[in-house]
C-alpha cells in the first residue's frame, strides 16, 4: 500500500510550483515539449545561455538543457562533430570551418573585448601601444605606467578562446603574447583571477565587467558596450550560436527565443548589446 501524500506537503509543493516565475508568451513555444539541448563553447555566452535555460526548463520540465564552456574552438568542434546541439563562438566562423562542418551561425549579441585590471590598481588609462607592450612582455612593471612599483602579472586565455582571438587580432595586432602569461580557461575564470590579484592584467568580454574588475580607458575611450556599438571602441565582435545544418525542433525554438525580445532582454541584462 502506498502511503497517501501528506496534505501539508502537497500544499507546500503546490505553493512552490505557483512561486515559479511565469513568463507568458515566448516561452509557450516550449510548453509540453520534451527533449534535450546540449550547448557548449564560447564562455562569454554562458550567463545568457544559463538564464534562458533556467527559464525554459522551469516552463517545460520535460526539456533538459545543458550548458558547458570550453571556448569558441570547442564550440566549433562540438557542434561540427555533432557532440553538442549548439556550439557557441565569440567570433565569426572561418570559411574553412563552415565548409568542413556545414555549420550555420546565428548572431545574437555585440560584445567588446577589453583589457582589464584589478580595481585596486591606480592605472586608469592605457594606450593601444602600451597594451601591446604589456602583453608582449616589454613593459613589466606597473611603475612604468604610473602605477605602484610592482611586477605586472599577465593572464591570457587558451587558444580555443574566441575572446583571445579577437583581442589578439584587433588589440595586439597579432603581436606576441609573453609565453610566461598565466593561462585561464574562460571569461569567468579570467574575471575571478583578476579580481583576486591586485597586480594582474588580462582581458575579458565587456559583458563580464562588473565592480570586481576595472577596465582602464583605451586611448581615452571607455571600453563600454555603447562605445563598442557606436564604433568608438575598436575591439569588438559578435556572439554567435552555431548549429550543424539548419536547427530543428526545440533547438530552433531555443535559437529564436534567444534572438527574440525576451532573449534580447536577457542578453541586455547580462551586459551585452542584442543584435536586434
Amino acid at each position: 500500500m502506498r502511503k497517501p501524500l501528506h496534505p501539508m506537503l502537497f500544499a507546500f509543493v503546490l505553493l512552490a510550483l505557483c512561486a515559479l516565475p511565469v513568463h507568458a508568451g515566448e516561452l509557450d513555444a516550449f510548453a509540453g515539449k520534451t527533449g534535450k539541448i546540449d550547448i557548449a563553447g564560447g564562455t562569454a555566452h554562458i550567463p545568457v545561455m544559463k538564464e534562458a535555460a533556467k527559464r525554459i526548463m522551469q516552463k517545460a520540465p520535460g526539456i533538459r538543457i545543458t550548458v558547458a564552456g570550453g571556448g569558441s574552438g570547442v564550440g566549433v568542434q562540438k557542434a561540427g562533430e555533432g557532440l553538442a546541439d549548439i556550439g557557441n563562438t565569440g567570433r565569426a566562423l572561418t570559411e574553412a570551418e563552415v565548409a568542413k562542418f556545414g555549420l550555420k551561425s546565428f548572431a545574437f549579441a555585440i560584445d567588446g573585448v577589453a583589457a582589464v585590471v584589478n580595481p585596486k590598481n591606480p592605472v586608469g588609462a592605457l594606450t593601444h601601444q602600451q597594451v601591446q607592450d604589456i602583453f608582449a612582455g616589454k613593459i613589466t612593471n606597473w611603475k612604468q605606467l604610473g602605477g605602484h612599483d610592482a611586477a605586472i602579472h599577465l593572464y591570457t586565455r587558451d587558444e580555443a578562446s574566441g575572446t583571445r582571438e579577437v583581442f589578439w587580432e584587433i588589440m595586439l595586432k597579432k603581436g606576441a603574447i609573453a609565453p610566461g602569461a598565466n593561462v585561464v580557461a574562460s571569461n569567468g575564470a579570467m574575471k575571478t583571477a583578476l579580481a583576486g590579484d591586485a597586480d594582474a592584467i588580462g582581458y575579458v568580454s565587456i559583458g563580464h565587467i562588473d565592480q570586481t574588475i576595472k577596465a582602464p580607458l583605451l586611448d581615452g575611450v571607455a571600453p563600454t558596450q555603447d562605445n563598442a556599438k557606436s564604433g568608438k571602441y575598436p575591439v569588438l565582435r559578435k556572439l554567435y550560436m552555431n548549429t550543424k545544418g539548419a536547427p530543428q525542433g526545440i533547438v530552433a525554438s531555443f535559437i529564436s527565443y534567444i534572438q527574440g525580445p525576451e532573449g534580447a532582454a536577457i542578453t541586455a541584462s547580462d551586459g551585452y548589446i542584442p543584435t536586434k
Partner: protein
C-alpha cells in the same frame, strides 16, 4: 567424484549427477575468471592502441609524406601560428614530478621513521591516522583550498609572481604523494623491524640506531619503490597542476614562474579542432605520459626485493641518527601543520555554507527530493550525478575486478599470468586523464563508424571510471588471496577440495576483509576523480541526471568549475561547501572500509 563426496559430507551414487553439473559450472566459472583477467589486458591494449592510432597522423600525413612530428617535438606551443611543440609540457611534468618528490620523499621518510620509533610512542598513532586520512583527500579539494590559501600567500611572499606557479603546484603535489610514500615505507619497516630485535639487542643498538643502521638498509628496494610510485603519482595528477601551476606553455626560469604539465595540457586543449595537428599532439602527450608510467612500472618490477639478501651498513658517519631524528621531527611538525592549515581553511570557509540552501538553492527541498523539481544554484544535481556515476562504475568494475584478481591469484600461470599482472600494474599507474582521453577518442571513433549519435555521457564517464578503478580491485583481491596463510590451502587440498571449491568455500570468505576494503577504496576513487569526467561528459549545468546517455553534473567537477568561474562570493561559498561535502563523503567511505574490514575480521572464519 571424491570432491563432491567430501564437500557434501555424504556419499552415494546420487551425487555423481550433481558432480557433473558442478564440473560444468566450475569450468564456466573458471572461464569467466580468466576472461575478467583478460579484460585488464584488453584495457591496456585498447588505451595504448588508441593513443598510438590517433598520434599516427603526426608521423605520416594523409598525403603519405612525413607528418608534423618535427613540429610536435619542439619548444614552441603556438597553435595559431602552426607550432605544436609539447616539449615545454613534457619538461614541466618532469620538473613538477621531480620537485614534488624531492619535497615529499624526505618528509615521507621522516614520518615513517617517526611513527616507527624515532618519535614518542603517543604521537605515532595520531600521525598514522593523519596519513591515512590524507589518502582520502580528493585532489580537487587540495586544489581548491590551495588556490585560495597557498596561492595568495606565494603572491604576497615573493615579488613578481602571480602565485600560480611551479612552486605552488609542487608544494601541494608533495602533500598529495606523501601518504603513498609513507605507507609504503611504513609497511616495509614494520615488515623488517620485528626480526631485528635480537640483532639490535646483541649489538646494543638504540631504537634510532636500529632503524637507521639496520632496518633502512634492509628496506633498500622498498625505498626506491616508494620514490618511483611517488613520482608516478605526481606526474599523473591533473587537477593540481591545472588549478595551481598557471598553465603557461613555457620552460620556467624559476620556481616562481608558471608552467604547464602534460596532464593539464590535455585537459586544457582537448578543446581544439579534432583534425588539426593540435589534436594529434594531445595524443602524443598521452603517449608520452603512458610511456612514463610504463617506465615507472618497469622500474618497480626491477626493484622487487630479492629474497635472502641481507646487507648491513655500518660506516655511515656518526651524525646519521641525529640527522634522521631531525628529519623525523621536521616531518612530524611540518606535515600535520600543512594539512591542518589547508583542511582547517576549507572547514572555516565551507562550514558556514553548509545548509539546505547549499544543496537545494531556492527550490523547496521536499519537492526536489520527492518530485524531482529542478534545482538551480544548489549541489543536489551534482550529488545525484556523483551517486549515479559511482554506482554505475561499481557495477561495471567490481565483478570484473574481483574475478580478475581471483584468476590472477589462484589460477593463472605462466606467461599469460605475467602479462595480465603486468597490465594490471600498468593500468594502475596510468594517469586518469588518459582514461578520459581514451573515452573521448572512443566516442569520436564510434561516431565515425557504427554509432553516429554516440556522445559523451554519464555511461561513458562511468565506463572510463571503471577502467580507472579496475586495477585497485584486481590487486586488492589478488593480494588478499595470496596473503592468506599457506596452511589454509594445504587444509583445502587435504580435504580433497578442487581448486575452485577451495576458492569459493574457503579462500574467498577468508579474504573477504581485504576484498571489501578494495571495493570501498575503488568507490572512493571513483567518487573523487575529476580528470576522467572532465573529458567524458560532465557539465556545469545539467540538472539531475536523466538518462545514461545524458550529460551530468558531479561534485568534483562542480568544485573545479566554481573555483575558477565563481561570479559571486556566494558561488565561491558553494564551491567550498561542495568540497566539504565531497571530503566528508570520501573520508566516510575510507572510515567505512576500515570498519568493515574490522568487523569482517571478527567473523571472517573460513566457512567450508
Amino acid at each position: 567424484m571424491a570432491d563432491a563426496l567430501f564437500l557434501n559430507g555424504a556419499g552415494g551414487g546420487a551425487q555423481s549427477g550433481a558432480s557433473a553439473a558442478n564440473r560444468i559450472g566450475e569450468r564456466a566459472a573458471l572461464a569467466l575468471l580468466s576472461g575478467a583477467a583478460g579484460a585488464s589486458v584488453l584495457c591496456v591494449a585498447g588505451i595504448l592502441g588508441f593513443l598510438a592510432w590517433f598520434s599516427l597522423p603526426l608521423v605520416f600525413s594523409e598525403q603519405g609524406g612525413p607528418g608534423q612530428l618535427a613540429s610536435v617535438i619542439s619548444w614552441t606551443w603556438q597553435p595559431t601560428s602552426g607550432h605544436f611543440g609539447i616539449l615545454p609540457m613534457a619538461t614541466g611534468s618532469l620538473l613538477l614530478g621531480a620537485s614534488a618528490l624531492g619535497l615529499a620523499y624526505p618528509l615521507g621518510l621522516g614520518l615513517a621513521l617517526f611513527v616507527n620509533g624515532l618519535g614518542p610512542g603517543w604521537a605515532a598513532r595520531p600521525l598514522s591516522a593523519l596519513v591515512r586520512l590524507m589518502t582520502g583527500v580528493p585532489t580537487v579539494v587540495y586544489g581548491l583550498a590551495s588556490a585560495f590559501l597557498l596561492v595568495p600567500l606565494v603572491r604576497a611572499g615573493f615579488a613578481g609572481t602571480s602565485g600560480f606557479s611551479w612552486l605552488a603546484a609542487a608544494l601541494v603535489l608533495a602533500l598529495l604523494v606523501l601518504p603513498t610514500i609513507v605507507l609504503l615505507l611504513d609497511g616495509q619497516l614494520r615488515l623488517v623491524l620485528p626480526g631485528l630485535g635480537l640483532t639490535a639487542a646483541a649489538l646494543g643498538l638504540s631504537r634510532g640506531q636500529t632503524l637507521v643502521r639496520l632496518a633502512l638498509p634492509l628496506c633498500g628496494p622498498g625505498l626506491k619503490s616508494a620514490a618511483v610510485l611517488g613520482f608516478g603519482r605526481a606526474v599523473g595528477d591533473t587537477l593540481i597542476p591545472l588549478m595551481l601551476s598557471g598553465n603557461a606553455a613555457q620552460l620556467p626560469h624559476s620556481p616562481l614562474d608558471a608552467l604547464r604539465a602534460l596532464t593539464a595540457h590535455i585537459g586544457l586543449v582537448l578543446a581544439t579542432d579534432s583534425q588539426s595537428a593540435a589534436y594529434g599532439s594531445l595524443f602524443a602527450c598521452g603517449l608520452l605520459l603512458f610511456c612514463l608510467s610504463l617506465a615507472a612500472n618497469t622500474a618497480l618490477r626491477a626493484l622487487r626485493p630479492a629474497t635472502g639478501r641481507v646487507g648491513v651498513r655500518v660506516h655511515l658517519g656518526p651524525g646519521l641518527e641525529a640527522a634522521a631524528s631531525a628529519l623525523a621531527w621536521t616531518a612530524a611538525v611540518l606535515v600535520p601543520a600543512a594539512v591542518s592549515a589547508l583542511l582547517g581553511f576549507l572547514l572555516l570557509r565551507g562550514a558556514p555554507a553548509i545548509g539546505l540552501a547549499l544543496f537545494f538553492g531556492d527550490t523547496p527541498p521536499l519537492s526536489a527530493l520527492l518530485h524531482g523539481a529542478p534545482v538551480f544554484d544548489g549541489l543536489w544535481p551534482a550529488c545525484l550525478g556523483t551517486l549515479w556515476l559511482v554506482a554505475l562504475a561499481s557495477v561495471l568494475a567490481i565483478p570484473v575486478g574481483i574475478a580478475g584478481g581471483i584468476h590472477l591469484a589462484e589460477f593463472a600461470t605462466g606467461r599469460a599470468a605475467r602479462l595480465a599482472a603486468f597490465c594490471v600494474d600498468l593500468l594502475a599507474g596510468v594517469p586518469s586523464i588518459l582514461m578520459g582521453l581514451f573515452g573521448f577518442a572512443l566516442i569520436l571513433l564510434l561516431r565515425r563508424t557504427f554509432w553516429p549519435s554516440a556522445n559523451t555521457c554519464l555511461l561513458l564517464s562511468a565506463l572510463c571510471l571503471a577502467l580507472l578503478v579496475l586495477p585497485y580491485l584486481v590487486s586488492t583481491t589478488h593480494s588478499s588471496l595470496t596473503g592468506l596463510p599457506a596452511g589454509l590451502r594445504l587444509t583445502c587440498a587435504s580435504l580433497g577440495l578442487s581448486r575452485w571449491q577451495a576458492v569459493r568455500r574457503v579462500l574467498l570468505p577468508a579474504a573477504r576483509q581485504g576484498i571489501m576494503g578494495g571495493v570501498i577504496l575503488a568507490i572512493g576513487r571513483a567518487a573523487e576523480d575529476t580528470a576522467v569526467i572532465l573529458l567524458t561528459g560532465v557539465v556545469a549545468g545539467a540538472g539531475r541526471p536523466g538518462a545514461l546517455t545524458d550529460k551530468f553534473e558531479a561534485l568534483p567537477f562542480t568544485i573545479y568549475y566554481l573555483a575558477a568561474e565563481h561570479q559571486t562570493p556566494q558561488e565561491l561559498d558553494l564551491a567550498f561547501g561542495a568540497a566539504l561535502t565531497l571530503l566528508a563523503l570520501t573520508l566516510a567511505l575510507f572510515a567505512l572500509a576500515r570498519r568493515l574490514g574490522a568487523t569482517a575480521k571478527a567473523v571472517g572464519r573460513p566457512a567450508a
